[in-house]
Symmetry: C2
Subunit: 420 residues, 2 copies
């Protein structure tokens, strides 16, 4: 562990720390951003007597943050900040998160914990493939790696042949990437006859996209690594909100820095542990853009608040199942793309790139699933259609394509296309 | 100044520090890399009694470093390093420079001095447009900015419309870039009717390419900024080897970290101050890849070793005129592309993108110059041909094209094309 003492704090201490820091965060907002303070109902630190009082505060949404572009919810003036990261803005105005130097330090700390949870030490070699720049991925791994002192290969995205070459040239032991990028690496490796068993790779840390257990098994088998799911987003201060430990039975969220709640996305009520809903995040140590009850739109549940077998006491949430705005409703059936991925990836002939195409014909929903397969087999196609129907209760027309026929996106993979 | 005490050291102290650090560097090579030590003639620290003794050591070339890919000249093992940067490798095997954490710190220090020399303080907003990754540009400015505590806009290269938007959204005061990138920004600004006088921009810091005084005046006039020339390369530990101060009469090289010599590229003899030749760099504080008499191939001369009007005592070299391998020899005449640039940029109708095309027809050299012009005027064309002839003694056929007709390269500008 990077900070054993903090990562194994007893629950009652965690909660004490959370309450104290929640008050401090509210005080910061009150003192530094009048509009934000009004938005949270002009609550004062003294109103918050227990963590339970958090439930009475209003939610903050991505739309709120967008409307505030660039610094509407920032706590401080630009001169107090040292940098910012920004959401991609592909679905509207981007969200800007300004960092004080303490925020940069906080980010490095949680990322160092994440890298250590994935087994990395100063003697590892980390190849960082998310991009460095406005996107938070590259710099998140950069700051974490600086704290643990491992050797960084700062290659960034793309140049997949060079990625393969560097695995060998620099004895890379750990790969960091957007979750769909290892698929591309595996694909190019196969074309090139590249043998992963000749590398020193042992760990992959992947995030920024929803990816299934079946995808994990595929990546682990093909690359000969152990794959860790990492979460975090621009709004929370970047990648590093939480990560799996080596028991892979949930994602530890660093509770001395964040409070997570799971709510019913319809009613907004907090759900009991174990029930699936939308994850809401309150930051406890962020200065530039503190969040009070931010609706992440990620669907998950709390798996456990008990001490984990790894020794960490910070609660675990399930791997993200989808996002509230990813949820598809077709012919009256609600489901997430990941559920389809889980089904098709069970078939060894099926390759990991797929696309769900949703349309409307004469007012009626249509849905097609395009998958790449090593075999073009009518029987296989029918079996998959049947299994999707029996699992989701939905008739989906499946089209099998040959390897490489689905276009690859340069950044995050495009899994769903709406042709409406 | 970032470090007034160190930047204004009296010359005799600088030289004492240099001698001490030169010995330490030789000791490091001796103890950590047998092959490198043999390459420098198995010199021992005790052999170096004065800085003059440096002249007796052999040169190190880019080819040497290339042959050593990746760690042949590294002093230490990979576990001692925390990252590396790499030359682009477009002209052959790339050069890898591995950094210890002390090297990262050294880089941040010299870059912070550079930013301060360009007038930046913690209250500035620095938009970093060189790419972050294997190329050293982005991270060099990143580390320097961290030390001075200014606000960073970590946008990286391209997305020129977004660059313009960010100038306003984040009140950018300083722009860092590859020297040809401001030309692209100016071009897009003109297309968009973007008015630089509505921004807070006041400083530009440009490097990684040879750019003329005429180009500087164009950028300064169009953007309403003061432009500073910065030097440095992968081999020396990245951008930051030196920068102009606000007197713009030479580039200060940080002499407590580097020794520069100017040699005759043919004979290898050290030239007297003021004479033009190839710059040779010896590093004094780099650990991962210390350099002894590295031939940079950059053509310059020593302008002064006296205390500058700015107060700094570190010597000044002239702005880089060209590189030994950039020098063109056509019809028996030797010249650098920058000399052509200087001539054409004097004409207000001429736009800053140009290309020199060199070929051979029936064994004879041919040379064409393609420039973009706001006017397609036969008389203008002839005037330029005449001025080139009277300056360089060379007949060059000039072709005037319309704005945008010369293809723009995504990274460094392509100024010379050889069609042989």
């Amino acid at each position: 562990m990077f900070q054993r003492h903090l990562e194994t704090l007893p629950r009652e201490i965690i909660e004490k720390v959370q309450l104290e820091r929640l008050k401090r965060t509210i005080r910061r907002i009150k003192e530094r951003n009048r509009i934000y303070w009004e938005k949270i109902g002009k609550v004062v630190p003294e109103d918050v007597k227990s963590l339970d009082d958090l439930k009475r505060l209003p939610f903050l949404t991505k739309d709120d943050l967008r409307k505030g572009y660039p610094f509407g919810f920032a706590c401080g003036e630009q001169k107090d900040f040292v940098r910012f990261h920004m959401s991609s803005g592909t679905t509207g105005t981007p969200v800007v998160n300004p960092y004080t130097s303490a925020d940069v330090d906080q980010w490095g700390e949680i990322m160092a914990r994440c890298l250590a949870a994935a087994g990395l030490t100063f003697s590892d070699v980390l190849q960082i493939t998310p991009s460095f720049g406005l996107f938070n991925g590259g710099f998140g791994f950069h700051y974490g790696a600086e704290k643990i002192g491992c050797f960084v290969v700062p290659i960034g995205p793309g140049r997949t042949l060079l990625q393969l070459k560097f695995f060998k040239d620099f004895n890379t032991t750990a790969l960091a990437g957007i979750a769909s990028y290892p698929l591309r690496i595996i694909e190019v490796a196969k074309e090139e006859g590249f043998d992963f068993s000749e590398t020193s790779l042992k760990v992959g840390i992947f995030g920024a996209e929803v990816w299934s257990e079946e995808m994990r098994r595929y990546i682990e088998k093909e690359m000969g690594i152990e794959a860790f799911d990492i979460i975090g987003m621009t709004e929370t201060g970047g990648v590093g909100l939480g990560i799996e430990c080596n028991y892979h039975n949930g994602i530890h969220v660093w509770e001395d820095h964040y409070i997570v709640e799971i709510i019913d996305p319809e009613t907004g009520y907090v759900l009991p542990d174990g029930e699936e809903g939308e994850m809401v995040v309150t930051t406890l140590t962020r200065e530039g853009l503190p969040l009070i009850r931010y609706r992440t739109r990620d669907i998950t549940r709390i798996v456990s608040r008990e001490r984990c077998e790894c020794g960490r006491t910070h609660l675990k949430v399930a791997r993200i199942k989808g996002r509230t705005d990813d949820m598809l409703k077709v012919k009256g059936v609600c489901f997430y793309p990941r559920q389809v991925e889980e089904i098709v990836m069970k078939y060894p002939e099926i390759l990991p790139d797929y696309q769900i195409i949703i349309g409307k014909v004469e007012g009626k929903d249509t849905i097609k699933l395009i998958i790449e397969s090593e075999k073009q087999d009518e029987y296989l196609k029918e079996r998959i259609e049947e299994e999707i129907y029996s699992t989701l209760g939905l008739h989906i027309k499946v089209t099998l394509k040959k390897k490489g026929e689905i276009p690859r996106a340069p950044g995050k993979a495009v899994r769903v296309k709406k042709e409406i």
